[in-house]
């Protein structure tokens, strides 16, 4: 498709009077702005951010789990925001609050179920092939970040579960020195990690992950005999 060096709007205009054409080359770097713009534009090949076609080998249910994970994350975030509107006692005292709490819990359970299936799907497809290592790694970090976020969520409930889980978990965290800075017995600190810090980190990681997926396209099947010849590709109508 489009080579990554495709000129973009703005760079194709005639050069200003005293400028050498060479400085128009993306990445030639006498303008920080131009460098950033080139990076942004070239990160995902043109048309590939939201393509309306997909490679013919994409034909399996396993591909749906990444999108399902993303959709579940959206539901988790929305229900979490509704809980935040009501405040930290709402879900103990009001039946609507308790229902929203249930929505939040079950969307998290779905989120993890989808994510774990997605993780193993990508593993068995060796989906890190072809420069996709970073996609895999951001996925693993998203998994870790999600575990931390869910964990601080359990500590923020302010009920029996929080009391028990925090007093149990403190020993593990203290044993490796983390507990000195990340105090699971302080629900104020845990709530802030749960509703601000970890969601921001997770959000950034997920955006990176999805951008990387679109940058490289869906990973081709393992062990193909031939590369796809261009004429074949054309004859099959892409």
């Amino acid at each position: 498709m489009t080579p990554p060096t495709t000129p973009v709007a703005g760079t194709t205009q005639p050069p200003a009077t005293d400028e050498k054409p060479a400085s128009r080359t993306p990445g030639s770097g006498d303008s920080w702005t131009r460098w950033v713009r080139t990076r942004i534009v070239n990160t995902v090949p043109e048309g590939e951010a939201l393509p309306d076609r997909q490679p013919v080998y994409v034909s399996s249910w396993v591909y749906i789990f990444g999108v399902l994970t993303l959709a579940a994350l959206a539901v988790v975030v929305v229900t979490g925001c509704v809980l935040a509107i009501g405040g930290t006692t709402w879900w103990h005292v009001a039946s609507l609050g308790h229902f929203v709490n249930s929505l939040h819990l079950w969307s998290v359970e779905l989120f993890f179920a989808f994510m774990v299936i997605h993780l193993w799907g990508q593993f068995w497809m060796a989906a890190w092939r072809g420069n996709r290592t970073l996609t895999w790694m951001t996925g693993v970090v998203a998994f870790l970040g999600s575990i931390g976020t869910a964990f601080t969520g359990y500590l923020s409930q302010s009920n029996f579960d929080s009391q028990w889980i925090s007093t149990q978990a403190k020993d593990g965290l203290n044993s490796v020195g983390i507990g000195a800075f990340f105090n699971v017995l302080d629900p104020g600190q845990m709530l802030l990690w749960h509703v601000i810090l970890l969601p921001i980190v997770l959000g950034v990681i997920v955006v990176l992950h999805v951008v990387l997926v679109r940058r490289h396209g869906v990973v081709p099947p393992l062990d193909l005999v031939d590369r796809v010849p261009d004429d074949l590709a054309r004859s099959e109508g892409r």
Partner: protein
């Protein structure tokens, strides 16, 4: 030719992690129309409906937090024993070490004393902070004031001797019942413990511990440490199958899924050598960090990165494509 193909396949295998040369560019393949946005919107609607269905059908657990009042009402002897233990320095928190105090060095991960190196950053003096300070706040009780004065006037050795003797006597008494304790030299400890129980019964203890002199109390470190020093909290948890050796960390009250994604972490605590080790927490954490690193670096680890090729689940995933495009 066959030999060459096999050979080159082996090479490509070795470089599979970063060798884009061997994995064709996905943009070189023929395509068919697909509606990504429609897929996402449908996924969102399906997940939202599933969530609503599950929430309506199964609700969610929200068992009330244990209060000092419930504790005092349900297990008064446990409150007495815990208070005496804090004064004697025999409770978990009193002998914990960092980050709460220097009573111990804490756990080690091989040669690394990470717990000690992190330092005492959340100082808690169990006898003073968890028992005596709340009692000192009680106004207009001259008997209590005199009892505390007796305690304060005694040398540290004597204090510890009194409290230790009382802890031992309580443990020996039938059901740990303070009224059935044998006579002994306990100093003011029995009075302190019993006054502590009545403070807990009155409902005043949480405030005294959590707010510890501030108006907004959002840090429950002290009250949770005290609660965890007693036996009541754990008894409640065990009754709900939440003990540490019952996979407790990943479960929650009621028949709810809890945090099943923690299964591997929780698993190690159930088996030797961790199940019996004094450094179990540090060791399990170390092991999990190592395994996590392995997952992160799976594309680079020989053997691990070859598993998808050796166990050919991918044939199922791409069976339509392989039908017309033979595998190597």
């Amino acid at each position: 030719m066959g030999m060459t193909a096999t050979l080159s396949r082996t090479t490509s295998h070795g470089g599979a992690s970063h060798g884009s040369a061997q994995t064709p560019d996905s943009h070189d393949f023929p395509t068919r129309p697909y509606d990504l946005v429609k897929e996402f919107v449908i996924a969102l609607v399906v997940v939202a409906l599933l969530t609503i269905g599950l929430a309506a059908a199964f609700s969610s657990p929200d068992e009330k937090a244990v209060t000092m009042t419930t504790w005092a009402a349900a297990a008064p002897s446990d409150v007495i024993a815990t208070a005496a233990g804090e004064l004697a320095g025999t409770t978990t928190s009193a002998g914990y070490g960092p980050p709460y105090n220097s009573a111990a060095d804490g756990q080690k991960l091989g040669p690394f004393s990470l717990q000690k190196w992190a330092g005492v950053r959340i100082p808690v003096d169990s006898a003073n902070d968890l028992v005596l300070a709340p009692l000192r706040m009680v106004p207009g009780d001259s008997g209590l004031t005199a009892t505390l004065a007796t305690w304060d006037a005694a040398p540290a050795d004597t204090q510890t001797a009194w409290a230790t003797a009382y802890v031992t006597a309580l443990a020996a008494a039938p059901d740990g019942d303070p009224t059935k304790v044998a006579k002994g030299t306990y100093g003011p400890v029995p009075q302190i413990a019993s006054r502590f129980l009545s403070l807990a019964q009155s409902g005043g203890l949480e405030g005294a511990l959590t707010q510890s002199g501030t108006f907004y109390g959002s840090d429950a470190t002290r009250s949770l440490l005290l609660l965890a020093d007693g036996a009541f909290l754990e008894d409640q948890a065990r009754a709900r199958s939440l003990g540490g050796d019952q996979w407790g960390m990943m479960n929650e009250t009621g028949n709810y899924p809890g945090q099943p994604w923690m299964w591997l972490y929780t698993f190690w605590y159930q088996v030797p050598p961790f199940a019996t080790s004094d450094n179990a927490d540090a060791q399990v954490w170390g092991l999990m960090m190592l395994l996590t690193l392995a997952l992160l670096l799976a594309p680079f680890i020989p053997g691990v990165r070859s598993l998808p090729r050796l166990i050919p689940i991918h044939r199922l995933v791409w069976r339509d494509y392989y039908r017309d495009h033979p595998r190597q």
